[in-house]
Amino acid sequence: MNAAKRAARAALYAPVLAVLALALAGPEAVRRPTDILASPFAPRGGDLPLGSDHMGRDVWAMLLSGGRELVLIPVVAVALTVVIGTAAGMSAGYRGGVLDAVISRIDTVALSIPVVLLMLLLLHNRGYSAGTMIVIILFASIPFVSRLARAATIQIARSDYVEQATATGSGPGRTMTVEIAPGVLAPVLADAGTRLSVAVGLTATAGFLGFTDSAPNWGRMINDNIAGISLNPWATLAPSLLLVVLAVGANYLIDDLTRRFIT
């Protein structure tokens, strides 16, 4: 890799890593982000680097403490998605028959229910929690991964080297893990960046729709503060910008990492 490319990559990564650090470490840096320090929508200046929000709280402190869940929930959910989706898709593709029919049908049913509709019902039903949010993301993303893994498995299982392995006495378990799994993981991980973006989007949307109590949350901040955008634009624009960098950056980061490790 030449120097210009390296510099371009650093320029791309720097904001992503900065936002990740802010989201993860931020909650440790503030004690009480929800203290009311000023009048609503006060402009930036003095003690308030980004002004105040619709209730007169410090926007910068809210930003610091409102991003951790937006990183942790999607990362855990997508990791689970990759494991469960790959396992389901590979079993369906390799075993075929009834198992394949059942798994494929479950995927189709899950794909046919609008995710946001299900999210609204579940969040109303069970209230917002990390667990509920992870279940919703799993529901929305496993079908995609499972279909992808199934298609890849069927293709690889027909290849010469898998036939050779079977002919030389490799059992189904060994064939699946040693011969097929590496080839299936390539497309699954290439897709994981998109899944992570979607997961960040869903988690932020739950906040935006007002489900996350009063705990600071970037999605919720955007909804709360849009009414005062002409008074203090930072209260809306700052969380929007951070969300964009997080959602887009997560996608690029995963893409780049997988490309480097797989090829």
């Binding site: 049908r105 049913v109 046919s112 229910i113 989007g201 932020a204 935006f208 849009i226 959602a247 887009v248």
Partner: protein, 318 residues
């Protein structure tokens, strides 16, 4: 079409019907498991426990879930999704207008996505890796990754609040329709359409790149003009893939309307959905959920059928 093709089409339609049945069950259970008592919403907090119990009996809510599901399904099969628990009006009548509004929103967004994706995806796909391709593909990834509500909020900030050109809220005055106030559609359509356009651009680009094979190269080498090669040799080969992708997109846009409608207070199915959730209006919720799922399933079915009918190889596979 041969008998075998007809049989395969029938199997796919049957499978879609089974999917719809399964979805209806999941929806019914998810809705009826909502906490909170619709009786309290309707009768108010002053109502005694006895009054509430009587109301629940009138609506049949004391019966076991499977029985209620069977009843509801029977009604749906006859085209009757029941009566709203809150207003007492037939659900079908009440969701007709919101459904119309949601359809209008999706139709315009779809048209926008179609035009933009063909205009951007074809030139990008003809020179994969070129400057234009990198610019367009990069923007597409960006737009897809950004949550819909952020795009909506940013568009509102610029066009409604800063410039004041367009309404931030899609309120249609009583007695008028969107035809009288087309400006209320602009921001919702831009939000939903930008996502559709970005997604479809990637699909068109991939289809064009895939279709640019030896046959097309041969036509070029034979000295045909670039336009003729494109029209007669390249684009026809993308039709099967693209027909499928756009059918998918149509379903996806319907499923994605909830957030956009909520941000702009657009008078579509989602505003109905949100108030139905707040009021625990079970029949209304179930009907809206079923309508949205039905549209998605129909779009998936059409995509599946198009893929099958356009692809001779799929027809010989089991």
């Amino acid at each position: 079409m041969t008998l075998r093709t007809w049989a395969a089409v029938a199997v796919r339609i049957g499978a879609a019907a089974l999917t719809l049945l399964a979805v209806s069950f999941v929806l019914f259970v998810a809705v009826e498991a909502l906490p909170g008592d619709p009786a309290q919403t309707v009768l108010g907090i002053e109502a005694s426990a006895e009054q509430r119990e009587q109301w629940r009996q009138e609506w049949g809510l004391d019966r076991p879930l499977p029985e209620r599901y069977a009843d509801w399904l029977f009604g749906i099969a006859q085209g009757d999704p029941g009566v709203s628990m809150i207003t007492g009006q037939p659900v079908a009548e009440q969701i007709a207008e919101p459904l119309h509004y949601t359809t209008v929103l999706v139709a315009f967004s779809f048209a926008l996505a179609l035009v933009v994706s063909l205009a951007c995806g074809i030139p990008a796909g003809l020179r994969p890796g070129g400057r234009l391709d990198r610019l367009l593909s990069g923007s597409a990834v960006l737009i897809i990754a950004v949550p819909q509500f952020v795009i909506a909020v940013l568009l509102t900030a610029v066009f409604a609040i800063n410039l004041g050109w367009l309404p931030a809220v899609s309120l249609v005055p009583l007695g008028q329709t969107w035809i009288d106030r087309p400006d209320v559609l602009v921001l919702p359509v831009l939000t939903l359409g930008s996502f559709g356009a970005a997604w479809a651009t990637r699909m068109v680009r991939a289809a064009v790149t895939d279709a640019d094979g030896p046959n097309v190269e041969a036509a070029r080498l034979a000295g045909l003009s670039a336009g003729r090669v494109l029209r007669r040799h390249l684009l026809p080969r993308t039709v099967p893939t693209l027909a499928q992708a756009f059918a998918w997109l149509l379903g996806g846009l319907f499923a994605a309307t909830t957030v956009v409608e909520r941000v702009f207070n657009y008078p579509g199915l989602s505003s109905m959905l949100l108030s139905a959730i707040r009021n625990h209006d079970f029949p209304m919720l179930e009907a809206i959920g079923l309508v949205l799922s039905l549209i998605v399933i129909a779009a998936l079915l059409i995509a599946d059928l198009l893929g099958y009918l356009f692809n001779p190889r799929a027809r010989t596979a089991p």
